[in-house]
């Protein structure tokens, strides 16, 4: 048997570089599948409960533990935490400085 000749039916593995390119192509394909399958979108599909109660809670907090302003600024214009414990001191509400709903002083509805 000649040692240098390839065995019949032997599978030739691609070079490491080509394998890397295949892996990269696979990763791109995986991300495309994730995007197109809807797995990457975890928003709820229905606003029925919001419709029933008239829309609610656009604030940064899940509850009014610190203030109703942080929970739903529609109902309260100001942050009550700003008055505690020292009036005029910086607000102690941990989420206040970067709320999901903020106003400037220019509007006064």
């Amino acid at each position: 048997m000649n040692g240098s000749s390839p065995r019949p039916n032997a599978v030739t593995l691609p070079s490491p570089g080509a394998r890397l390119l295949l892996v990269l192509a696979g990763l791109v394909a995986l991300d495309c599948v994730i995007l197109s399958s809807g797995v990457a979108d975890t928003r709820r599909r229905s606003a029925a409960l919001d419709a029933a109660v008239g829309g609610f809670a656009l604030g940064h907090a899940l509850g009014p533990a610190w203030s109703f302003h942080g929970f739903d600024p529609r109902g309260v214009r100001d942050c009550e935490s700003e008055l505690f414990p020292i009036v005029g001191a910086p607000c102690c509400d941990p989420g206040h400085r970067a709320s999901r709903a903020t106003r400037t002083g220019a509007e006064r509805p």
Partner: protein, 384 residues
Amino acid sequence: MGSRHLNLALAAAGNVAQNPRGPLVAASGLVIVLALLLSGLAISEGQRAESLAALEAGPGVYCTWDVFGRDAAVPLEAAERLASVSGVQRLVPRVVGRIELDGRIATVLGVPLSELQRADVARMQLSGAVPNAPHEVLVGVELARALGLEVGSTLALDAHLLRLFTVSGITHSTAPLWSAKAIVCDLAEAQQVFGDVEHVSDVCVYVPDGSEGLVAEAIQRSDRRFRVQTRDLVAQYFVRGHELRGGTFAALFALALALAVPTIATLSYLGATPRRREIGLLKAEGWSTAEVLEMVALESVMIGLGVATIAFALAVLFVRVLGAPLLAAYFVADLGAFPEARIPARFTAPMLVAAVGLGVTVTLAGSLWTTWRTARTRPIEVLR
């Protein structure tokens, strides 16, 4: 010409595949930073889309009351007067209050039972049913879990009066996030619990589409003490606040990504001794500086592409499967480190493209400078 670039690409892929240690160390840190950045941006985008959808589902105008220039509850008789304003189709008064339950702060939301009963219950994402009688309440998933409540459990609400209620339904983890720690009950019952049957917190005013501004002006003219907000105004300040929060988050991670550039440059420099020999040999064989740079640039593109695609898949896994523990609390205060409620998130194709761009830019910026310096040195000096 094309085959030259293809050969360079194959040579670059071969280099990365055969010497994976250096790229792996640099890339693994970058993957984590990029995955967290993508998760945060997706949560931010999901919240924005979901909140705006909820806003669309609500009324066109919201009314509260103003006393001494400060917010106050609306007198019921004033709320009823709104029905006579031209263009008003329907009024829904609400009571929004805070109550302590077993050491936890919960939101009590009182709306007329008729409003809950006319809703599309099948699409409400809850176990059990909406309240059908004054003594029934709907409880949020996080609150129910914390208090050990099930459908049929008895719940005592104690503010001004103590009243007993039966849990008729519990929201699913996929229900709106605000409902996770809320109790929804009949308006009159909420007024009784808080001991004020003469006032409501606010009034939802349903008007024909496009007439929000006119109705708001008419309400304001009817009584200056009304504080009136249209849906557009609410959307405007919501979007502004949302961008501020998302922007702060992105700025923090931009800093982390910027720090990744010198890290990769340092790693390239530390691993430069064998690389310098390799580049010297290539130059001695007749490669031009441009060709060496192109090959290294292609290596960086491959590493950046790999980093971005892995980071994207990991980010989806982190948010979708694990519920974005720790990170979600940055966007929603009071949520807890390991929330039961599902975090709204939205990964988009532009995010993936941006991740690839960032990954490639960071790796290119970190590796090209050291390569260029080596490639410009005479091969004899490099190989000495």
